[in-house]
């Protein structure tokens, strides 16, 4: 009886419990009918679904609550709890503290990147502030990044990172991070504004530039924000940016020469990127902390390292930060400039000019480390560089001759090593027409650089030189338009004459540096000798006739070579277009001799009496006259010479007669008057 009672009791209790459980499960199933049977982690949630579930670790109360609903919608829902917490598989409740979840088991690529990253290394070091996967991604509520609920959805990334990287956090206070107020700056930047205020989900977040898992310091060559890589990083979005920056740098160079070119953040400071050019004061201010000191000297050689910022701000480079030229600075150092090993390389921006310079004689000397070689700064200066249109600039037209004179004046370093024919070039230039005009303020007149170019200066022997004989007409023709054309159609042009021997170009007649106005006396008088350098015989005969003779006496109005033959349009006299052709010669003479006829033009301007074949009349007239002269002088001379002894004899006799007369005079005063005249003659 008793035994039956106990059995009945057991069964009753079992039925009650079972009924209770069935009711409960029925209730549960009615709530979540789909998952009730196969929901992963249902067992776990039996406990961890309790919001009040917690434990104490190291004196801290830690919630052990897992939001089952969120987990069920997360990307990991299908793996269940033990998909990640594998060590809890089959464990009895209540289980111990689970092992650290290893996301890398599945996410091996991300894990590898993370392990090498700044954050991963910090973990390895045991840095308690270092973030793990969960720090950013969360744990049970992991969604696809495309899901707005994801902790690393673009809109949330700045705040995820900002948990640590904003002012006041332990990370910002205790860790060396070169940038400050990162989140604040970012949120005000054009990127931050687009993302956070305008909701543009494609706007770059922290991870866009720093990457999600491979975050490295900018000094690391593998870092996405390393100098070498930053251009690639930025151009992921700004893919056509080189077209905007073409004036300064050819886009490709950013990647090829990233180490010497200014990188994106040199102008667009990290985290503060604006869509307008804002003042680059900050980096400069960092430099000026030391370089504003006028007494600052370089330890190596005592050279002043003082920088007059005022010069910079008034220069062409006022909008260029120090570090854009002094490009090897490392902002993470206390002395950012200590990493600088090279000098300033202007070609990183002025690339085309740099290439020209490298080919020039100045550049060649620089390559040879010649101490006399002028580099950019020798001409342009350093911090106070001004544009060539600025009258204060050393490269302003009026100042150019003085600039070049520093080396090329007689006695200076360039003039001393020069072995060519041009001397006193500065003096000659200053007195030349170009120099005179420049002195009068005509800035468009030719200065040194107009002919020699500014950056492509080459000796005239170089075929590529702007002052090479073959290029001179073109060089002069840049200003003297029309003249070049005339010249190229003249007999002095190789194209017209077909001569292979050297032909004169502009400077052969006008000189190189002492160019004078052609209506100036000096030019008019010198041109005959100039033409005569090549036209030796014809120039000599010119001097045998009127024009040449009076020209030699300094008469400038008499016809000079080019008055008849033309200056730049010299042609053979047989050419119908020549000034001296049959059709044109009278008009040419009329320029000076009003009313001159074709017959007047028959005057032989180059007649010489030395050439009986060409000028027989002149020849025979000359010798006829010479014969007349010689005959007359011989007869007259012989007559006189024969006479001389007799004349002296007469003189002696006369003297004797005079003495006798004088002696007589004392005796007979009556004869006095006759002899007085004789005495007086010689005495008077």
């Amino acid at each position: 009886m008793a035994k039956t009672k106990i059995t009945l009791r057991k069964w009753r209790l079992g039925i009650i419990v079972a009924t209770f459980l069935i009711v409960i499960f029925a209730l549960r199933f009615s709530e979540r009918p789909v998952r009730a049977a196969d929901a992963p982690g249902a067992e776990c949630l039996a406990c961890h679904g309790d919001k009040g579930m917690s434990t104490t670790r190291a004196g801290k109360t830690i919630s052990l609550y897992v939001d089952g609903k969120k987990f069920a919608t997360s990307v990991h829902a299908s793996f269940g709890c033990t998909g990640c917490h594998a060590d809890l598989e089959g464990k009895d409740f209540p289980h111990d503290k689970p092992a650290q979840v290893k996301c890398g088991t599945c996410h091996s690529d991300e894990q590898a990147l993370y392990a090498r990253s700044l954050h991963g290394k910090a973990i390895t070091r045991g840095d308690p502030l270092a973030p793990r996967c969960v720090t950013c991604h969360g744990n049970h509520d992991i969604y696809s990044v495309k899901d707005a609920r994801s902790a690393v959805a673009p809109l949330k990334v700045p705040f995820v990172c900002g948990q640590c990287h904003q002012e006041g956090t332990p990370v910002s206070r205790n860790r060396q991070i070169a940038q400050d107020n990162i989140l604040g700056n970012y949120s005000e930047s054009i990127h931050g504004e687009a993302l956070l205020k305008k909701g543009l989900a494609v706007a770059p977040t922290c991870a866009t530039c720093h990457t999600a898992h491979s975050i490295l310091p900018h000094s690391d060559p593998a870092s996405s924000i390393n100098r070498k890589n930053i251009a690639a990083t930025c151009t992921k979005c700004h893919s056509q940016i080189e077209t905007v920056h073409r004036k300064i740098i050819r886009g490709e160079l950013w990647e090829k020469q990233a180490n010497i070119l200014p990188s994106c953040p040199d102008c667009h400071q990290p985290h503060k990127i604006r869509n307008v050019f804002y003042e680059l004061g900050m980096a400069n201010a960092d430099c000026m902390r030391c370089h504003a000191d006028e007494k600052l000297r370089r330890a190596r050689d005592g050279q002043s390292m003082y920088v007059n910022l005022d010069q910079v701000t008034h220069s062409r480079h006022s909008k260029i930060a120090c570090s854009q030229c002094h490009s090897e600075v490392n902002a993470s150092r206390v002395r950012p400039c200590e990493t600088i090993v090279r000098g300033v390389d202007c070609t990183s921006c002025h690339d085309e000019i740099g290439k020209l310079y490298a080919t020039s004689i100045h550049g060649q000397l620089t390559t040879k480390n010649d101490p006399n070689a002028p580099t950019c700064k020798e001409c342009h200066g350093t911090h106070g560089i001004l544009g060539k249109r600025d009258p204060q600039s050393s490269t302003f037209a009026v100042n150019v001759p003085g600039l070049c004179a520093r080396c090329h004046r007689e006695g200076q370093k360039a003039a001393v090593r020069y072995t060519g024919t041009q001397h006193e070039i500065i003096t000659n230039y200053t007195e030349s027409i170009h120099g005179t005009l420049l002195k009068n303020g005509l800035t468009v007149t030719a200065t040194c650089t107009s002919c020699h170019t500014a950056h492509q200066i080459l000796p005239r022997s170089d075929p590529a030189s702007s002052v090479n004989a073959n290029n001179v007409p073109n060089t002069c023709g840049q200003c003297h338009h029309g003249i070049e054309e005339q010249f190229e159609n003249s007999i002095h042009s190789k194209r017209v004459s077909g001569y292979s021997r050297p032909l004169p170009v502009c400077n052969d007649c006008h000189t190189a540096h002492a160019i004078h106005r052609t209506d100036e006396n000096s030019f008019r008088l010198n041109v005959m000798g100039t033409c005569g350098r090549c036209h030796e015989r014809i120039a000599a005969t010119y001097f045998e006739t009127y024009h040449g003779k009076v020209s030699r006496l300094g008469y400038t109005k008499a016809a000079k070579c080019y008055d008849c033959h033309g200056a730049h349009d010299v042609l053979r006299v047989t050419d119908p277009r020549s000034h001296l052709s049959r059709a044109n010669v009278a008009a040419t003479c009329q320029k000076c001799h009003a009313g001159a006829t074709r017959r007047f033009a028959g005057y032989l301007t180059h007649a010489t009496h030395h050439d009986p074949k060409k000028y027989p009349f002149v020849f025979y007239t000359f010798w006829g006259m010479t014969g007349l002269l010689l005959g007359t002088f011989v007869i007259g001379g012989v007559h006189t010479l024969l006479w001389l002894p007799r004349a002296f004899q007469m003189r002696r006799e006369l003297r004797v007669a005079e003495e006798n007369a004088a002696a007589e005079l004392e005796k007979t005063p009556a004869q006095k008057s006759a002899s007085t005249m004789k005495e007086e003659g010689p005495d008077a």
Partner: protein
């Protein structure tokens, strides 16, 4: 003292006009020579310096042509004077030309030339020259010839545009040679042979200034031109041609002028010798 008694009477050889013409001739001739030779010898440094001193070639040209005008003027004056002489003293040109005072050479000049050469070489006595010796006649006609040749070519070169309406342009080249070489002959001859023959003969040294004063001592006439003297004595006209000598101040001034002319002349001769013999191109 002699000066008190300076009112000695001297033989008048040249008229006032003749003397003036000779002075004009000297000034004009030296001017022409200096300015012209700068052009002929333009290759010498001297020429450039002189041209510069004269105010440049252009002004030298003006001076040259002005002097030429003076030369033409005095030549014309002389011709007019001859015409008046003919009207006054001779019936016809023929009488003038063949008369005893004629400048035209004649047979007697030839014999005197031969006699003179004989005297030079010690084969005879000095001939008894008349009013004009043969070398004086030669000088006179040399000037006639010179003015004609140099003057005509000079005018051609002065007005080339006009003249080339009638002659070819290359004649200007010929004219240039004739003009300059004839001028060279004239200057060379005047400043050497004429200077010696007339002014600087040792027995007259340092200078015969008769052509400027117009008068010469009677003794000199007797010695130099005995035939003329005798003719004058014979005709009794000697006394008509005697006048008072100039006071020393006048002769001294004349001498100064003459020295300048001589110096210029010799300078020019030296320049010509240098230019022709040493600097010729």
């Amino acid at each position: 003292m002699p000066k008190v008694e300076a009112a000695e009477r001297q033989f008048v050889r040249f008229t006032r006009l003749q003397r003036i013409l000779h002075v004009c001739m000297i000034v004009s001739f030296i001017t022409l020579a200096l300015t012209g030779l700068t052009l002929k010898f333009s290759y010498t440094k001297w020429a450039a310096v002189l041209s510069h001193l004269l105010g440049g070639f252009e002004s030298a040209g003006y001076i040259h042509r002005s002097a030429a005008v003076v030369m033409f003027g005095l030549f014309t004056t002389h011709l007019v004077d001859l015409y008046r002489l003919k009207k006054r003293e001779y019936a016809t040109w023929r009488a003038l030309i063949l008369g005893p005072g004629s400048m035209v050479p004649n047979r007697r000049d030839l014999t005197e030339l031969v006699a003179t050469v004989k005297w030079f070489i010690g084969l005879g006595e000095r001939p008894a020259y008349g009013r004009w010796t043969y070398w004086e006649k030669f000088d006179y006609f040399a000037v006639f010839w010179g003015i004609a040749v140099i003057g005509s070519t000079g005018l051609t070169l002065w007005f080339p545009v006009f003249f080339t309406r009638f002659i070819p342009g290359s004649f200007l080249n010929i004219a240039t040679i004739i003009h300059s070489d004839e001028a060279l002959l004239a200057t060379g001859f005047i400043f050497t042979v004429h200077f010696f023959n007339t002014h600087l003969r040792p027995e007259k040294f340092p200078m015969d200034i008769t052509v400027f004063t117009g008068r010469m001592p009677l003794e000199e006439l007797m010695r130099d031109k005995p035939r003329e003297y005798e003719a004058l004595v014979a005709s009794g006209k000697l006394e008509d041609q005697m006048e008072e000598a100039y006071p020393p101040i006048v002769t001294r001034t004349i001498r100064a002028f003459a020295w300048v002319a001589l110096a210029l002349g010799f300078g020019i001769v030296l320049w010509i010798i240098y230019a022709v013999l040493f600097a010729y191109q």
